[in-house]
Point group: C2
Chain length 98, copies 2
């Protein structure tokens, strides 16, 4: 899929501050999407760091990754459920493809 | 939603090794789901760490979180698209709810 925000090389780069550290984030996603990704991770790390002030930086980061991965897997389950519902709806709705 | 793998307090705990460090992961998800989450993060960190051997541990972890967050946001977009398709299919399929 082409993205209207992609540059010619199809890779975008942004600079972002995540939990007080500078990062360069690269990816095929749009600049807006990359910014959202950085904000999401920064937000998660702050949440975890505030709840556990004694935690090492790297453990905060790993737990942020765990947190996002958990939401990712839940969403993937819901996505698959929805796909199944849609397939059933299509089978019921119309058998006129042939 | 109740999960058949949940314990009485509705919070499960697992011990997991992520990128060589011990973690206790807690969550409302099933034990299997928590294990998958830990494996996903461990896998991402190894992938990033192998590709960038000089990277600090905490930067490997942050970039793993960024990576998973990127996939999460893409999936959320796809999920919303699918939801829209399903809503349209339902509107076309049956107007007999009233």
């Amino acid at each position: 899929m082409k993205n209207p925000n992609s540059n010619s090389a199809d890779v975008n780069k942004i600079k972002a501050v995540i939990y007080g550290q500078d990062y360069q984030i690269k990816g095929r996603a749009s600049v807006d999407q990359l910014r959202m990704v950085a904000m999401l991770v920064d937000h998660k790390m702050k949440e975890i760091g505030e709840a556990n002030p004694r935690l090492d930086l790297n453990r905060v980061a790993v737990l942020a990754a765990v947190n996002v991965a958990d939401e990712y897997l839940k969403l993937r389950q819901e996505y698959e459920d929805l796909l199944r519902i849609l397939e059933q709806a299509q089978q019921l709705g119309g058998g006129e493809q042939e």
